[in-house]
């Protein structure tokens, strides 16, 4: 079985790689298998995790036992039926005549996402990042636990330069994103510095992405030449 599995994986891997030459039936076959299997995989996983795990076990709680072996009875959560009903209404979109019904679950999903994002992004992406930027630049006043004396602990040049870069980069980057004022004069010059920082960010992110893709590629080449052909020991 292991032998067949390796050959199946090699066949599918080479099928996808063959696209580098040109679009061909082998690639299309592998791509179709990928599409079908991905859709099926999430179909099953979400059924067991969300529909069964949340709805079914909530409405029909399974019997649980305490340490003494007594049955713990859990009350069914009937409110979960509303979630299931909204979910079923979502499927109405499959029938064009009843597609309008899916607006209700869609409104629920959009409202939930808006509410969650408003809070989560504001606290993590906004407040925490601002908090991280407003920091001591050159050093910190610290109390010596032995003597109780308050001393100034200076940062190393490396850290000071780094802190200044973060402060200037974040501020100028934000100035660039401020489009309510024309980018001219001092404001324009500050925005220009922001562009430089954004370009460094894009370049670094690009390099990082390339390297992660390369590592995946190395993994596949290692599989083909090692696991499949046995050329790499």
């Amino acid at each position: 079985m292991e032998h067949i599995a390796v050959w199946v994986a090699a066949f599918l891997t080479l099928g996808i790689v063959s696209f580098l030459y040109k679009d061909n039936p082998w690639y299309k076959l592998s791509e179709s298998i990928f599409v079908g299997i991905s859709a099926g995989y999430w179909f099953v996983v979400l059924f067991w995790d969300n529909v069964h795990g949340k709805f079914w076990t909530g409405v029909f709680p399974p019997e649980e036992y305490d340490a003494a072996g007594n049955v713990i009875t859990k009350d069914p959560d009937w409110m979960l039926w509303i979630g299931a009903l909204l979910g079923i209404l979502m499927l109405a979109r499959l029938v064009p005549k009843f597609g309008w019904i899916s607006r209700w679950p869609l409104a629920f999903i959009v409202g939930s996402t808006a509410g969650l994002y408003l809070i989560n992004y504001f606290s993590s992406n906004m407040m925490r990042q601002v908090q991280g930027t407003i920091m001591p630049l050159f050093g910190m006043w610290q109390t010596d636990p032995a003597t109780g004396e308050v001393m100034f602990q200076a940062f190393s040049t490396y850290d000071v330069v780094g802190n200044l870069v973060i402060l200037i980069g974040t501020f100028t980057g934000l100035v660039y994103f401020f489009f309510s004022k024309e980018h001219r004069g001092v404001f324009g010059a500050t925005a220009k510095v922001g562009i430089f920082f954004l370009m460094i960010t894009f370049g670094a992110s690009f390099g990082y992405t390339v390297m992660s893709r390369m590592s995946l590629l190395i993994g596949r080449v290692d599989f083909l030449f090692g696991t499949w052909l046995g050329l790499i020991k």
């Binding site: 592998s30 099953v44 629920f108 809070i119 973060i166 992405t209």
Partner: protein, 208 residues
């Protein structure tokens, strides 16, 4: 109305984590998980519907549509038949995941390396200062992440080698730009979310 109430409850429960908002938040979170599962089902079932229409109508590439349906059923049937232990080692579902899904997904992302390389050839021409900065940052990060980077700069003192420069670029200027982008995205998301919750933005329901 549904959007406004649900959105407002999620916001209010953050500031007032007590009854009734805490209870409503728990309900809405459970409903959200269930509806999200059905939303993914909708996508998968729609894929099946379109593929079946292609096969029945003998449209172009209908054979591949048949493969999609077959692959879908191939993983779904053992997934449901296997009960709650469908993902355990030794099941056909886990076999398909390990030997078909994983190789296919990782190869699909791996070949992007070639397309990225070809795109970068066109994008990375140092035409002006901005493009040069992009090029230099990418160069440092890419070479600094592989052993050859440190071999090439082995004559430099520790702290000034390519891997050190790559770490510095990632930790400071990159972090600064990333932070500005993140704050910008957060502000945009907050304003868009408020527009949705207050009913100003209704395009998701087909309105203006």
């Amino acid at each position: 109305m549904i959007t406004g109430i649900v959105g407002a409850v999620f916001v209010l429960q953050y500031f007032i984590p007590h009854w009734p908002f805490s209870k409503m938040n728990a309900w809405f979170s459970d409903w959200f998980s269930i509806v999200a599962a059905f939303a993914i089902w909708l996508g998968a079932l729609n894929l099946m519907k379109i593929s079946a229409q292609k096969v029945v109508g003998r449209k172009e590439d209908w054979g591949y549509a048949l493969v999609i349906i077959f692959s879908f059923l191939l993983i779904v049937i053992p997934g449901f038949a296997g009960g709650q232990g469908y993902r355990e080692a030794g099941t056909f579902f886990s076999w398909l995941y390990e030997w078909a899904y994983t190789p296919l997904s990782s190869t699909m992302f791996a070949i992007l390396a070639f397309f990225v390389a070809s795109a970068s050839y066109r994008a990375f021409r140092a035409r002006n200062l901005e493009a040069s900065l992009l090029l230099i940052a990418a160069f440092f990060v890419m070479l600094g992440r592989v052993p050859v980077g440190d071999i090439l700069t082995g004559f430099m003192p520790v702290g000034w080698r390519l891997s050190d420069l790559a770490s510095w670029v990632m930790n400071y200027p990159q972090a600064a730009g990333q932070r500005a982008i993140m704050i910008g995205i957060a502000l945009g998301l907050v304003s868009t979310s408020l527009r949705i919750i207050l009913g100003i933005e209704r395009s998701h329901l087909g309105g203006e």
